[in-house]
């Protein structure tokens, strides 16, 4: 501790000390380091031969105003009420593709993570560009 005298050294000591629980928590929480692979573009999705189950993770109002054909409505806020519809349409052989508003929104990430966690379904993907990219496709 004698080395931790100046403010800079003190800060370095704190930053170093915080590394220890951070590394331990990486093992404890079993985080998904390769999650980026789950983000897909519309072009990639269209090239798949596997059946696709589309999930619309936006709000009820936006879903009712317009959604991708066949998309099931499912979001974190209304999870319990909507998950039944998802389960009715889901089968282990499908690729699940979740979208929300745009590239910036995080709702699809949240829903995708929850599907993986709750149902152990690994083939869950987040659509890059979200609804904005789908609307472009429809034009």
């Amino acid at each position: 501790m004698r080395g931790c005298s100046s403010a800079f050294r003190q800060a370095l000591c704190l930053w170093g000390a915080a590394l220890i629980p951070a590394v331990l928590s990486a093992f404890f929480f079993q985080v998904e380091w390769k999650r980026d692979a789950s983000r897909v573009s519309l072009t990639e999705v269209e090239s798949w031969k596997t059946p696709i189950l589309w999930i619309d993770a936006r709000s009820r109002e936006k879903y009712d105003a317009g959604h991708w054909p066949g998309a099931i409505h499912l979001n974190a806020d209304e999870w319990d009420a909507l998950v039944g519809d998802f389960l009715a349409a889901w089968s282990p052989s499908v690729n699940v593709v979740v979208y929300c508003d745009s590239r910036a929104c995080g709702a699809s990430e949240e829903v995708a993570a929850r599907i993986r966690k709750d149902f152990g379904h690994e083939a869950v993907f987040v659509l890059e560009g979200g609804w904005e990219s789908l609307k472009e496709e429809r034009k």
Partner: protein, 138 residues
């Protein structure tokens, strides 16, 4: 109330704000990683590393700062200033790009928007700056 006591209360409050922010993030690391990733500044692996590291640094630095532990107090103070500066850069960047995202600053408990989080970080930074100046004078 005497000034030193006001400064001590401010220091304790700011420190505890950071501790609570760190604890709330730890409650759902995966979600916090998503919140970090939604800023679109880092690849996923870096977002996740930040999500794993940042809460512990906030807890440690905030705790030391609040307690006033003299051996590490200045280091904790500078650490918190650097963290706030980092938050301001990230939030400012998201704001200018008009990203409609959750800040993630207090885990999922707050659900704060970017402009509001930016203002809050400014206030925290201001208080930390005042305390820094007071410390230098003292």
């Amino acid at each position: 109330m005497k000034r030193p006591r006001i400064y001590a209360i401010l220091r304790g409050t700011v420190g505890l704000v950071f501790v609570s922010a760190g604890v709330l993030k730890l409650l759902d690391i995966q979600q916090f990683a998503i919140d970090v990733h939604n800023f679109r500044l880092t690849p996923w692996s870096v977002s996740l590393a930040v999500a794993l590291y940042l809460p512990w640094l906030e807890i440690l630095a905030g705790g030391v700062f609040a307690s006033g532990w003299s051996r590490f107090r200045d280091g904790a103070h500078w650490t918190l200033l650097v963290l706030v500066a980092g938050f301001l850069v990230a939030l400012g960047s998201a704001w200018t790009r008009n990203l409609d995202i959750e800040c993630g600053c207090f885990g999922e408990a707050a659900g704060t928007t970017v402009p509001w989080a930016f203002m809050r970080a400014m206030v925290l930074g201001g208080i930390l700056g005042v305390l820094r100046m007071q410390r230098c004078k003292g």
